[in-house]
């Protein structure tokens, strides 16, 4: 029986992994605190101080702590500092679960960003806003929004290596296409 470790590429060390081609720079974002929050989102906002609007697909997230809308009653709270709140059920009507280690975050930037997006999803980034930032990207479910001039992608930790290989392939395609 073949050892499949030989077949599947070794997942990179996210601490220093980068993809760089003309027009595109891709890296992993470390150290973000992330939580899933469901239920009465207004009550959550009041209790937590996450009071900005929750961004949808390709929305622009701003600040040190922000919310990304995943579903009608579900959001992802993202912060560069610890939350300082418990998880579980809150009598105010919301539920909180830790997910910091569960979602790997990548950041993509550069003049070829539009070309990169066009290869990842059929959703039109210039189209009408779409309320949830979860969408099918590179053939898998992902959370996709903008942060400053780059694109942030959160993906299930188990699929991060797949997305990385996909991004390497696509970045190479974009680079070859623009060279010709």
């Amino acid at each position: 029986m073949r050892d499949l470790a030989e077949k599947w590429s070794v997942p990179p060390d996210w601490r220093n992994a980068t993809i760089e081609v003309p027009g595109l720079k891709i890296g992993a974002v470390a150290g973000l605190h992330q939580r899933l929050v469901s239920g009465d989102l207004a009550a959550w906002a009041e209790a937590s101080g996450f009071d900005g609007p929750a961004v949808g697909a390709f929305g622009l997230a701003e600040g040190m702590r922000y919310s990304v809308r995943l579903a009608r009653d579900l959001l992802l709270a993202v912060s560069t500092t610890p939350f300082g709140m418990a998880t579980g059920w809150f009598s105010e009507g919301f539920a909180v679960t830790e997910i910091s280690a569960g979602l790997q975050v990548f950041e993509v930037e550069g003049p070829a960003l539009d070309a990169f997006i066009a290869r990842g999803t059929t959703l039109d980034p210039a189209g009408p806003p779409s309320a949830s930032a979860t969408l099918s990207f590179a053939g898998i479910g992902a959370i996709v929004y903008r942060r400053q001039r780059s694109l942030r992608i959160h993906v299930d930790r188990g699929l991060a290596a797949y997305l990385w290989t996909w991004m390497e392939t696509v970045a190479a395609n974009i680079a070859t296409g623009s060279r010709n």
């Binding site: 949808g56 697909a57 995943l70 579903a71 009608r72 579900l74 999803t121 059929t122 959703l123 009408p128 806003p129 779409s130 309320a131 949830s132 979860t134 969408l135 099918s136 479910g141």
Partner: protein, 88 residues
């Protein structure tokens, strides 16, 4: 490639959705329900050629909703969140 309107997210690619059966197919509860009712619930389908009312789930955001569409022309007629909530 069809575009289905998720009541929450708006139009998304058909690959983000999963079909969930006939709308209005109420589940009869209990170990004693007549087997005909249970069989109807579990297996029998309207499967209309033309306008259909169906349950769909938008797998990206997890929304279950009712969609009316034409099974021949693939024209989407409406989509409504379960519980009567509509997208803002």
């Amino acid at each position: 490639m069809q575009l289905f309107p998720c009541p929450f997210c708006g139009p998304r690619d058909e690959t983000e959705f999963h079909y969930g059966g006939d709308a209005g197919n109420a589940r009869p509860d209990g170990a004693e329900v007549p087997i005909e009712s249970w069989t109807n619930y579990l297996y029998l389908r309207s499967n209309p050629k033309g306008t259909a009312r169906e349950i769909w789930v938008h797998m990206s955001c997890g929304e279950f909703f009712v969609m009316e569409r034409d099974t021949v022309t693939h024209k989407v007629l409406s989509s409504t969140a379960l519980g009567g909530e509509h997208a803002a």
